[in-house]
Each structure stands twice: as C-alpha cells, then as structure tokens.
Symmetry: C2
Subunit: 230 residues, 2 copies
Amino acid sequence: MSQDRVALVYRQLRSMVERFDFKPESQINEVALAKKFGTSRTPVREALNRLVAEGYLTFQARRGFFVKPFNPDEVIALYETRVAIETEMIRLALARNSHDGLDALIFDLDRIVAQHQAAEDLEQLLDIDELFHLTIARGAKNHEMERILTNLNSRIRFFRLIDLKFKRSHPELKSEADVPGHRAILEQMRNGEAENAARTMRHHIERRRDEATEAAARAFASIYFADSTT
Amino acid sequence: MSQDRVALVYRQLRSMVERFDFKPESQINEVALAKKFGTSRTPVREALNRLVAEGYLTFQARRGFFVKPFNPDEVIALYETRVAIETEMIRLALARNSHDGLDALIFDLDRIVAQHQAAEDLEQLLDIDELFHLTIARGAKNHEMERILTNLNSRIRFFRLIDLKFKRSHPELKSEADVPGHRAILEQMRNGEAENAARTMRHHIERRRDEATEAAARAFASIYFADSTT
DNA sequence: TGAAAGTCAAATGTCGACAATATTGCCGAC
DNA sequence: GTCGGCAATATTGTCGACATTTGACTTTCA
C-alpha cells in the first residue's frame, strides 16, 4: 500500500474543483490538503500540477495554486470550443468510416439514445448525454479531439448540473430534453447528411450553452458565498 | 537562487521532446534527467507531469514516463483539430468584433504578413506563421481555443520544421509559402466573408497537413535511429 | 533443455525536513 | 489616523533518504 496516492488525490481534487468546493480565486493550501488526504505534499503537488495543465486551476510561481476565477464568459468559451470540435467530429466520423463502420457507430448511438430516455437521476442523465457525444468522437477516430472533448465536458458538467436541478424544481420552465436533439443528429448521420448533422449539432450545443450560461449566472452568488470545505 | 527549477526544467524538457531528442516510446529516466539538470527528482517529476497533461508524454503507474509513440496518424489528428478550432475561430472573430475592433485586428494581421515575407530563418518563419494564426485566435476572444491552439502548434512544430528544411534543400519541390494563403484569408476577413475565410483556412491547414504528414514519414527513420541524448 | 521460482539491482512513489520566499501583523514616526 | 518598514509567521520550493515495485538475471528442478 501507500503507492498510488497521486491518482487518488487527483480524482478527489478534481471532483472537488468540479463541484466548486473551493471558492473561485481562492488559494489552495497544499499542507491543508495533504493533511486532509493523509499524505505528504508531494502527491498533492503532482495532482495540482496536472489540474493546472488541464485548465482547472492556475499557478503563480512562489504564490501557489489558485482556483480559476468564476466567469460566465469562460463557460461560453468552453461551449464555443465544443461547437468547433463537435461539428468537425461529425464530418470526420462520416467521411472516415466505411459503410459497416458507420452502421456500427449508429447502432451504438441508437442504444445510447434509448438509455438516455430511461435515465434515473441527473448525474446518470449527464453521463449518458456525454457518452453520446463522446461516442461520435470515437467514431471520428481522432484521439486529440476525444481528449479535448472529455476535458471540456468535465469542466462544463457543474453548470449543466445546476441547470438541470433548477429546471427540475421549476417544471414550468422545463425545456425539451436532449433526446430529440440527439435523435435528429443521429438521423441525419444515418442519411449521410454531414453538413446538416453538423448544423444540428451546432444548434444543439448552442442551446445548451445558453441554458448553462443562465445557470452560471444564477449560481454565481451561491458559489461565491458558499463555505469552502477546507 | 535554487528556486525556480521547475520552470527551467520544464522548458528544457519540452524543447527536448519537441525536437525528439528522446526516442519515441523510450522510457524517461528521472534520475538521469535530475542529474543532467543538476536538481533533485522533484522538479523533474513536476515538469514531466505537466508534459503528460499537455499531451507530450504518457505515464504508466509504477512504470514511469514514456515518450509518445511516433505516429503519422497522430500528426493528422493534430491538424484535423486545428481545422476544427481555426475555422470556428474565424467565424467568432468576425461575429464578435465591432467595426473598429475588426479594423485593429486586420491591421495587426497585415503587419504580420509583411513580417512573414521578410523572415530570415526557418525558426523565425514558423514563429511568424504561428503568430498569424494565434492573432486570429485572440481576435476570437476565446481563451480556451487560444490555449488549445498554442498547444497544438508546439506539438506540430517539429514536423513543419522537418518539412521546411527538406523543401529548402530541394528547391525544385518548393511549394508556395504560407504568405499567399494568409493573404487570401486576410482579404476575405476584411470583406466580412466569414464562411469563405473559414473555407480558405480549412484548405490552408489541410495543405500543411499533407506536407507535414509526408515530412513525418520521411523523418520516421531518422527519429527512431537517432541517438537519444540521455 | 526449458520453465518456474527466487534474487537483486534499478527505477518509481512517498515522505519529512530544511531553505527560500511571500504574507501578515505590529510598531513607531509623521 | 495612516503610512512605511521591520519582525514574525505561514507557505512554497527543493532536497536526500527510504519504501515499494518492477524487470532482468540466475538458479533450480523437472
């Protein structure tokens, strides 16, 4: 034992950051975290460095690690990046695959859409939604885009969760779920209409962007004034 | 003194990796590096962790850090990602900026194209070329895309350098420089033709992709059999 | 001879301590 | 009362050592 602390610490830290357990712009205290996790500072620092490189945190020499300032513009930027990546992914997935490969991909997507409808809780809903998009990424056979999309999704997740929770408690606002959007994309892919599918994907993501941006604005106060679990 | 070793080590390591001073797939020995840099293993490990998160290296628990296998497909993936990012960047830059903002952006781009023609060596040529694209990224006002593009460029750089060196020593193959392509993109942006500019950008990058892929194939042997500077 | 088990050197994983630096709090001067 | 500077304190940066694990080599036994 006592061998894989970095991985443990990394996972925990990342989910803490994703949930905004730390206040934005607050400094992250290495010794406090080390104590919390029962390790020395070494694994904590390694994990923090990874999180910086992945865009979750910032770092200033001799000052330490900081949580990125909370900023609706940043959320918008993340969604815009998704639009860029995902519209191109669709083109690649359709151009790159043989007929059989495409059939297999569409078969997988069909199943995911079906699961989507049966999702039981919000976390699961998001998992399945992200899986739909990630499966297309895999169909595009571009590891780099897959990597980037995974990263974007995890950084966006918190805001979507906020949005979904809000919608659930205000049924009158309930917008259409993601399922119809996914189904439309799927049909156009099935028909080989790359540009149409890309356009639908763009609008699909842009709608989510607007929802998440609103959610971010609503969440602003609660994040800034919530207790950080030191 | 003895305070900012990580930054030093990181920069050196990155340029070593970019130049393929390490053989692809070879394991990276932490103690050897530490000795080489005259530090302990701690700063080396932090730098290596960053390089993993940035896509330069891979890591296997209890086995260590490895150079990514050299793989023309990977180069193609990097270029495809650039297409995705940069075509969208152009749309954003044109949609997002006021008339004056756009004028300023185009003024900057004009100057960069002029510098481009006057570049003295290959490294400088690449710097200026990357600056053209990065300036558009800044015009798009999307930090995330800027970050990603910077990362992509630095990982692609080696292959472009190989290509340019090869072209220089085989003047009969000399393809058109990047300048005309940039100029065309610039003109279309000036006229507000977002979709045309995006399309030109796509073709521009795809041409580079083909050149770099060939260069990668040519470089294959020399990389795999070159001495690694332990 | 060949395969399994054991041994050992080398590499990684983690730690606690110390050095360098930044931040905070205090005190006196104006 | 406020400002600037100094001391005290907290935090980061780096190190060398030790623990654990891996992988290669050797030995042993069928």
